[in-house]
């Protein structure tokens, strides 16, 4: 390749990387500037004293605290529900599925990943309506919304787990078996720890996807100004829904600024979860190297 062309490609690649950096900075700066007028304790708790709000003594109706808690609960529930099935399917596809099964299930996973989230929401809503006839306590709420979101993030978990294990060197499995490990022991003691960076990546992707989605929870459980949910079947507030309704129906500049502040908090929340996951990954990695992992 000629030097000028090589130089041009390198410059373009550098510009693309730099562009991404500037987009993120611009986005965060724009959100921060727009949200600045309302960045105070009232943003979170409104007129409710913070301690009373946190302890659940008094409800918060004009602050983002219930939406933050609702979003956190929703993401945790969705990931907990999706993780066993997602990882189980991914492990099966990576280690023991026949090529035909792998192809067929892979197609279904890709199809589910490409499905618009509103369809998943509609499916969740239909199931709630169907179940309501037999179990009247099942209404739109935290658990149904989390279950619907779990369907949304399932393909990310399956594909991520599959790839994380599939791309490991085949020698790892052979070495583990040669040391007297059963396939399950090889998976637990060797393959999963080795695949941890990839697995953490796909869980993070799923967390981000679950935290930002509005269409699914719109139909399956979220409401505006409800306060904190008191059980898994209760409706809940969530940041993406707050952002959506504020953008569509704001009646004052302060409300609009609150929408921007909610966006900033959502980004911060995802960043915080990513940081936590990275910390867990580093701690586990450290334990592996010092031999303290049982």
């Amino acid at each position: 390749m000629k030097a000028p062309l090589r130089m041009a490609i390198r410059s373009a690649a550098f510009a693309a990387a730099l562009g991404l950096f500037f987009i993120v900075i611009f986005l965060l700066a724009a959100l921060f500037v727009k949200a600045l007028p309302v960045l105070d304790m009232r943003l979170l708790f409104g007129d409710t004293p913070p301690m009373e709000a946190i302890m659940g003594v008094r409800p918060v109706f004009d602050g983002l605290f219930p939406a933050i808690c609702g979003t956190l609960l929703l993401v945790i529930c969705a990931v907990v529900l999706a993780l066993p099935m997602g990882m189980g399917a991914g492990i099966h596809l990576a280690l023991s599925a026949s090529p035909g099964t792998r192809r067929r299930i892979g197609f279904c996973v890709d199809l589910l990943a490409g499905m618009p989230s509103i369809l998943i929401g509609l499916l969740g809503f239909s199931i709630i309506l169907f179940l309501y006839r037999y179990f009247p306590f099942i209404t739109p709420g935290l658990l149904p919304a989390a279950a619907s979101l779990a369907c949304l993030i399932l393909p990310y978990l399956i594909r991520g787990t599959w790839q994380a294990i599939h791309t490991l060197p085949p020698e790892l499995m052979r070495t583990a078996l040669s040391l007297g490990a059963s396939p399950v022991q090889a998976l637990r003691h060797v393959l999963l720890p080795a695949a941890k960076p990839g697995l953490t990546g796909c869980i993070l992707l799923s967390v981000g996807r679950a935290a930002e989605d509005t269409a699914v929870i719109l139909l399956t459980g979220t409401v505006a100004a409800y306060g904190l949910p008191s059980g898994f079947w209760d409706p809940f507030e969530a940041l993406p829904f707050f952002i959506y309704t504020t953008a569509a129906e704001y009646s004052s500049q302060r409300e609009l600024a609150m929408g921007f502040a909610a966006s900033l908090i959502l980004v911060g929340l995802c960043g915080g979860l990513f940081g936590l996951a990275a910390l867990i990954r580093r701690t586990v990695q450290l334990k592996i190297f010092t031999g303290k992992l049982s």
Binding site: E171, L172, M173, R174, T175, A176, L177, S178, L179, G180, A181, S182, Q185, H189, V190, P193, A194, I288, F289, T290, G291, L293, S294
Partner: protein, 238 residues
């Protein structure tokens, strides 16, 4: 034939991948406490033969193994293909060291302790005692004893291979299968491993696949050339 007990008795061993035969009709007695070298041209199935001795071959798909492999033990001959044979225990008894050093992505201590943990040994004192013993046996303790928590992949090639040998030795195997263990190492590391193998001969039976004529002549008590389907003693007096 040397005046020694037989550790492994192989009769009419055949291995095929799908419809393609790798080798057939291999019969061989492997003496106890000796180094048996397996030689032959590339592609003749030396590594396949080696991995059939502890049923590691079965981990691969579409492999068919027939014939009999008997392992001598305290209670007489054990058919390694018998339904009653615990394949995981067999792989601890008949350990293997691969051609390329393959430390697992974990610390030095964790690597050597892994087979013990797999066996259910979790007491820290037991683990430490046996790991240290294995590292000393593999002549590695002096070099890594002060940094057992370091990533095993940061060791040199020769150290990594000795680590893999230590990881096998920690299981106290009766037989150690070595698949060209020095082929990817420099001369100094090769010499260290060869000296180690001569030491190990005192405690276990070794089966060594090697392409190096010099190595076979300096280490082996017995040579089995797979191309010729016969075994011929090289140094019967050893």
């Amino acid at each position: 034939m040397m005046n020694q007990n037989i550790k492994i008795r192989i009769r009419d061993l055949r291995v095929a991948y799908g419809k393609s035969h790798v080798f057939s009709g291999v019969s061989l007695d492997i003496p106890e406490g000796a180094i048996t070298a397996v030689t032959g041209p590339s592609g003749v199935g030396k590594s396949t033969f080696l991995f059939s001795l502890n049923r590691l071959l079965e981990a691969e798909s579409q492999v068919r193994v027939s014939g009999s492999i008997l392992l001598a033990g305290e209670r007489g001959w054990q058919d390694i293909h018998a339904a009653s044979t615990d394949v995981y225990e067999l792989r601890r008894k008949v350990a293997v060291v691969f051609q390329n050093p393959n430390p697992l992505p974990m610390g030095i201590f964790a690597n050597v302790a892994l087979p013990l943990r797999l066996k259910g040994i979790g007491r820290k004192a037991d683990l430490e005692e046996r790991v240290v013993r294995a590292l000393k046996q593999a002549h590695l303790w002096e070099e890594v004893g002060h940094r057992l928590g370091s990533d095993a992949r940061t060791l040199s090639g020769g150290q990594q291979q000795r680590l893999c040998i230590a990881r096998s030795l920690v299981m106290q195997p009766e037989v150690l299968l070595l698949d060209e263990p020095t082929s990817s190492l420099d001369a100094a590391a090769e010499a260290a491993i060869e000296s180690l193998l001569l030491d190990l001969k005192r405690t276990c039976t070794l089966v060594l696949v090697s392409h190096s004529r010099r190595q076979v002549e300096s280490l082996a008590d017995l040579e089995f050339s797979m191309g010729q389907r016969e075994k011929k003693p090289v140094f019967p007096e050893c």
